[in-house]
C-alpha cells in the first residue's frame, strides 16, 4: 500500500508533458492485462478440480474401495487392488529412499564446499530433472529383465530413485539452517560429534526433514510412467512384492484409455481419491513445516 501511495504522489508531482495521459493509460491497461492473464491461468485448475469432483464423487462408495475389478460386462467391482497397491508401493519406496536420502543430506549439510559434495549436488539436480519414464526403463533393465518378471519391487525401486533428490535437498537445507551454536553446546558437554548429529541436530531438524519426505511421497503417489514396465499393474489382488502390483495412477491410465464407459467412470472415481490423497500429503507437509517449526 505504501508503494501505491508513493507512486501516485510522485506521479502527481512529476507528471509533465503531453503524453502523461497516454502513459497512465498504458499503465492501467498493463495492470489489467496482468491480472486477467493471472486469473485465466487459474481457470484450468478450477475446471479440473470441478470435473474430478463432479464425475468422481458419485462413484465412490464402500464397494468401490473394497472390491476388486470385475471383468468387463459385469457391473460393480472396485479398485481395492489399486489402493492397496499404491500403499504398498509408497511404503516400499520410502523404506528404500529415506535412510539413504537423510544420510546423504547430512553429508551435504556438513561438507557443502568440497569437490565431492559439489559432485553430489550436481547429481541430485540431474536426478531430479530426469524424466520419470527414463527411470522406469532403468528399473526395468536392472530388476525386471534379470528376473524375467514384473514386480512391485521394481516399481518401488523406480519410485525410490525419484524420491531421493527431494529428501536429500530438504534434509540438507533444513540442517544447514540449524545454527552452529547448538552443535557447540553439545560438543562442549563432551558429546562425540556423531552423537551430536544424531541426538541433537537431527531431532531439531525433524520437521523440515519430515516435510521433505511427505512432499516426495506426494509426488510419487501420482506417478504412472515409472510403473508402466515395472509394477505393470495387476487386476487381481497381490500382496507379494515379487509379483506385478496395481496402483491408483496405473488403473486410472488403463481405464481412461479403454473404450468402455463404465471403466471411464471408475477412472474418475479413482482420480478423485488420488487427488484427495496427493493434496492431503501436501497439506500435511505444509502443516508440519509451520506447526512443528523449531525456534532457535
Amino acid at each position: 500500500m505504501k508503494e501505491a501511495i508513493i507512486e501516485r504522489s510522485v506521479l502527481e508531482v512529476n507528471m509533465t508533458g503531453n503524453n502523461a495521459g497516454w502513459r497512465l493509460f498504458k499503465d492501467m491497461f498493463f495492470k489489467g492485462l496482468i491480472v486477467l492473464l493471472a486469473f485465466i491461468s487459474m481457470l484450468p485448475l478450477l475446471l479440473i478440480l470441478y470435473h474430478i469432483t463432479i464425475n468422481g464423487i458419485s462413484v465412490i462408495n464402500w464397494e468401490f474401495i473394497s472390491q476388486l475389478p470385475r471383468p468387463i460386462g459385469e457391473t460393480g467391482g472396485g479398485i481395492y487392488n489399486s489402493i492397496i497397491g499404491s500403499i504398498m508401493l509408497i511404503i516400499l519406496s520410502s523404506v528404500l529412499s529415506v535412510p539413504f536420502g537423510i544420510a546423504a543430506g547430512i553429508y551435504l549439510s556438513e561438507k557443502s564446499y568440497g569437490k565431492i559434495a559439489q559432485a553430489i549436488q550436481l547429481s541430485v539436480v540431474v536426478l531430479q530433472g530426469t524424466p520419470s519414464i527414463v527411470i522406469g526403463i532403468i528399473a526395468y533393465l536392472w530388476v525386471v529383465a534379470p528376473f524375467q518378471s514384473f514386480s512391485a519391487l521394481s516399481g518401488g525401486i523406480a519410485l525410490s530413485i525419484m524420491m531421493l533428490p527431494v529428501i536429500i535437498k530438504s534434509t540438507e537445507e533444513t540442517l544447514k539452517l540449524i545454527p552452529y551454536h547448538l552443535k557447540e553446546a553439545s560438543l562442549a558437554l563432551g558429546v562425540p560429534y556423531y552423537k551430536t548429529i544424531l541426538k541433537v541436530i537431527l531431532p531439531t531438524g525433524l520437521s523440515g526433514i519430515l516435510t521433505g519426505i511427505l512432499l516426495s511421497v506426494a509426488r510419487i503417489t501420482g506417478e504412472t510412467a515409472p510403473l508402466l514396465f515395472t509394477a505393470f499393474g495387476n487386476q487381481f489382488m497381490n500382496y507379494s512384492i515379487l509379483k506385478p502390483i496395481d496402483s491408483l495412477p496405473y488403473r486410472i491410465f488403463y481405464y481412461a484409455m479403454s473404450p468402455y464407459p463404465e471403466w471411464h467412470t471408475f477412472a474418475w472415481g479413482a482420480s478423485f481419491i488420488l487427488v484427495v490423497v496427493v493434496l492431503s500429503f501436501n497439506l500435511i507437509a505444509r502443516g508440519i513445516a509451520i506447526k512443528w517449526k523449531v525456534q532457535f
Partner: protein, 297 residues
C-alpha cells in the same frame, strides 16, 4: 574411547558413502542406457534421428517423428504458457506480494503443480478432446481431437507453475532502491516493470523457462494420453503423433530385441537433453541468487 572413535569413523563412512551412492547411481543410469542402446547405435548410428520411418515389420527404425513431436509439443507449450507464467510472476512479485489474493494464487499454483500427470491426461481426454474435435470440424480439419496441439495445450497448463514460481522469486529479488530511483524520476508502474524489473530479472525468467522446458520435454503421461499415438511424421499441428517419451510409454512394454534397443536409444537422448537443460537452468539460478545476496551488503 576407541569405541567412540570407531563409531565416529563408521558414522562418517556411512554418510559419505550414501552421498557417493547418488553419484554412482547417476553414472550407473547413464551407463546402463548407453550399453543397452549399443545394438541400436551399431545399426543406425546418429542417422537414427533423421530417419523418418518407424517400421517394426522391416526392422527399420528412425526417430525423427518423435524428435519432431517432442520439439513441437514442448516449444508450442512453452510459447502458450509464457505470457501466463510471466503474468503470474509479475502479479505475485510486484503487484500483490502479500495479502489474501497473493496467498490464494500461490496456493493455487502449488496445487496445480501437485496434480498428477495422469489426471491431467484424463481431464484432457474427456473434456479437452471433444472441444478440440468441435473446433477441428469447424476448421474443416480431420477431427482427431487428439494430436500435437491438444497435448501442447495440456502441457502448457502443466508447466505454468514451474516458470511462474521461479519468475516470481526472481522479481522479488530486485533491490528496492533501483525501483525507487525509477519512481522518483516519474515513471509509471508499467514503465518501471518494463524498463527496470524485466531486464534485471531477465536471466532468472529465462532460467525458469528453461527448467519448464526440461519438464515439458520429459513429460509422459498426459502427453501419451492426448497425442494420438502415431509413429508417422506429423504433417500439421493437428496431426496425431508421438513424442520421445510417449513412444516409449506406448511401445516399450512389449518390445524386444532391436525395437527395445532403439527405444532405449531414444531414452538415452531424452536423458541427456533434459540433463543439459536442467544443469544450465539451475546454474543460472544459482548465479542469480549469489548476486542477490551480494547486493544486500
Amino acid at each position: 574411547m576407541g569405541r567412540i572413535d570407531k563409531s565416529e569413523k563408521r558414522f562418517s563412512a556411512i554418510i559419505f558413502l550414501s552421498g557417493l551412492f547418488i553419484v554412482v547411481l547417476l553414472l550407473a543410469i547413464f551407463t546402463t542406457l548407453l550399453i543397452a542402446s549399443v545394438p541400436a547405435i551399431k545399426v543406425f548410428g546418429i542417422g537414427f534421428f533423421t530417419g523418418k520411418a518407424w517400421d517394426p515389420s522391416v526392422e527399420q527404425f528412425g526417430a525423427l517423428p518423435f524428435l519432431v513431436g517432442t520439439l513441437l509439443t514442448s516449444f508450442l507449450a512453452l510459447i502458450i504458457s509464457i505470457p501466463f507464467s510471466i503474468s503470474i510472476s509479475i502479479f505475485l512479485g510486484e503487484y500483490y506480494k502479500d495479502g489474501p489474493i497473493s496467498a490464494f494464487l500461490r496456493s493455487a499454483i502449488e496445487v496445480l503443480a501437485g496434480i498428477p500427470s495422469v489426471i491431467y491426461g484424463l481431464w484432457g481426454l474427456f473434456l479437452l478432446m471433444p472441444i478440440m474435435r468441435t473446433i477441428q470440424t469447424q476448421l474443416g480439419v480431420t477431427p482427431y481431437g487428439v494430436g500435437i496441439f491438444t497435448s501442447s495445450l495440456i502441457l502448457a497448463i502443466m508447466i505454468i507453475p514451474f516458470s511462474a514460481s521461479i519468475g516470481r522469486e526472481v522479481v522479488t529479488l530486485i533491490p528496492a532502491d533501483l525501483k525507487e530511483a525509477a519512481y522518483s524520476l516519474g515513471a509509471t508502474r508499467f514503465e518501471v516493470i518494463k524498463n527496470i524489473i524485466i531486464p534485471y530479472a531477465r536471466s532468472g525468467i529465462i532460467a525458469g523457462i528453461l527448467l519448464a522446458l526440461g519438464r515439458a520435454i520429459g513429460e509422459t503421461m498426459a502427453v501419451t494420453m492426448l497425442i494420438g499415438n502415431s509413429n508417422f511424421l506429423p504433417k500439421s499441428l493437428f496431426s496425431p503423433a508421438n513424442t520421445m517419451a510417449s513412444v516409449i510409454a506406448n511401445e516399450f512394454a512389449e518390445a524386444t530385441g532391436l525395437v527395445a534397443s532403439s527405444l532405449i536409444y531414444i531414452a538415452m537422448v531424452l536423458f541427456l537433453v533434459t540433463m543439459l537443460v536442467n544443469i544450465i537452468g539451475t546454474y543460472v539460478i544459482k548465479k542469480i541468487a549469489l548476486e542477490a545476496s551480494k547486493e544486500v551488503t
